[in-house]
């Protein structure tokens, strides 16, 4: 047997956006096994439900994560609305869809930038983040916050999108589409970039299925899983396809996410076109009592919200299962047999969000 050694990787590492620690068992330069450990930024947000009332928790839930913040607030509100049988007005559903897709776009741009940074292409990294800035500007214009929006509340939304704002969103989408088209070939066709991505960290469809992977990570391995197809919010009325790829390598993950940005642009355009008139929020009376289980599609994959309420303003339990948690097992599988130099890149390809995972 060759000599094995263990190299600690993280929690502080230049390519890692957030703290995760991996013990890498290596033989020469090849990874034999990766043992993850998390727990560096646990904040105990789930336990706060016993100290804050269920309306205040909408603000706390949103702060589970700084990038998928809209989805967390949304998933929590959906769960409470489900328990209390609240029918959310149509306009609110469409507005939620628009904001959700805007946040998916900015999350994917952030990821593209981090990926470019991961393989050392600094100029491309800055281009991605420059484009992302336009989306953040529009989010600030419509919600008042750049990454934490605070527009969801139990029963609907708090702010409206005026026709001028809708115009600003459409202008932004047109310019983002043009700029993404200009830089996308660098990700998908450039020789140097492809040499870092194609065939690196392959996860087969069977493995992805067995390990319960979620989101773009699973879709890149050929599993057509997308919770938006369940038709929550306004997704039921909107025409879109689940984007998949059969390659299962890092290139496929990049390709799927780029196509998803174009898809989000089309979803927002459709939603703005169909935006119905009406109320922004339904009235909420009383306290929730019962249980609910909601599945939504975050930018990083399927997230699950479980809420149990006892009829008082304070909930019994809230639980969030985040996509990164589901994808960690898949990550360890892709790391087996990989080169040590590719580890940082491979960790990035699952789009890790450790803050969500630890709540």
């Amino acid at each position: 047997m060759k000599k094995r050694s263990i190299v600690p990787y993280g929690p502080q590492h230049p390519v890692l956006p957030e703290p995760i620690h991996l013990d890498l068992v290596i033989e020469d330069e090849k990874i034999v096994e990766a043992i993850p450990s998390v727990g560096f930024i646990h904040r105990g947000l789930e336990n706060l439900v016993q100290k804050r009332d269920f309306n205040q928790m909408a603000y706390v839930a949103e702060r589970v994560c700084g990038i998928c913040s809209f989805g967390h607030g949304f998933g929590y509100c959906e769960a409470i609305e489900d328990i209390m049988d609240i029918e959310v007005p149509d306009r609110a559903k469409y507005l939620r869809t628009i904001w959700f897709e805007l946040s998916r776009m900015h999350s994917h741009f952030l990821w593209l930038g981090l990926l470019a940074d991961g393989f050392g292409f600094e100029n491309l990294f800055y281009q991605c983040w420059r484009i992302r800035e336009k989306i953040l500007d529009v989010l600030e214009l419509t919600t008042g916050g750049r990454v934490i929006f605070s527009v969801n509340k139990v029963g609907g939304v708090m702010k409206d999108i005026t026709p001028e704002m809708a115009g600003a969103i459409l202008d932004m989408l047109a310019s983002v589409k043009k700029e993404l088209k200009a830089i996308a070939p660098t990700f998908t066709e450039d020789y140097a970039v492809k040499s870092r991505l194609v065939g690196v960290g392959v996860l087969t469809k069977q493995q992805a299925h067995d390990l319960g992977c979620a989101g773009p990570f699973a879709r890149a391995s050929g599993i057509a899983t997308d919770m938006r197809k369940l038709g929550y919010a306004a997704y039921g009325d909107i025409d879109f396809d689940v984007i998949t790829s059969n390659d299962g390598d890092s290139y496929a993950r990049c390709y799927v996410r780029i196509r998803e940005i174009f898809q989000s642009i089309s979803i927002i355009e459709q939603a703005i076109e169909k935006l119905p008139e009406g109320e922004l929020a339904a009235a909420v009376k009383g306290n929730p009592k019962g249980e609910s289980f909601i599945r939504i599609e975050q930018p990083r994959g399927e997230a699950i919200y479980y809420v149990s309420a006892n009829g008082s303003p304070h909930l019994d339990r809230m639980r969030v299962r985040t996509p990164t948690f589901a994808n960690l097992a898949g990550l360890c599988e892709t790391l087996k047999g990989a080169d040590y130099a590719d580890v940082g890149l491979l960790i990035l390809t699952i789009d890790p969000c450790i803050s969500c995972t630890e709540r």
Partner: protein, 151 residues
Amino acid sequence: MAVMKFVPEALKNLFKPPVTTSYPFEPAEYPERARGHISIDIDNCIGCGMCVRACPLGALKVDKNAGTWEIDRFDCVVCGYCAEKCPKKCLHVIPGYQTPEREKEGVLYKKSEEALKAEAEKKAEAARKAAEAKAAMEAKKKAEEEAKAEG
């Protein structure tokens, strides 16, 4: 083989002005809805304490008798829930982010002298009225009792 796909984009960048602004030398522009900080229209505040109970962070303190409202701007995350809950609508979320400070401490807002005076007068007026009403009631009772005793 596609080599150096990025070259045209990179060359374009050479001739473009920077996309960043040199804040703080150039002022930042905020949209109207930007959640920068909470402002209070203190003279309209009735000291009901709804905002204190609403705040998920516990960043607020209200003293009804002294007519003060206090916010710890470093605890506040500008979620805007207090502004939504205030019955007098005297709290507003306005643009302009919190600036760095050396000390982390609350900012105290006190009602103006006129508002306090007006309130005190109102209170005195109310007390006087209550006293009058009470006196009238007692007088009535007495009269009734006397009438009974006579009868």
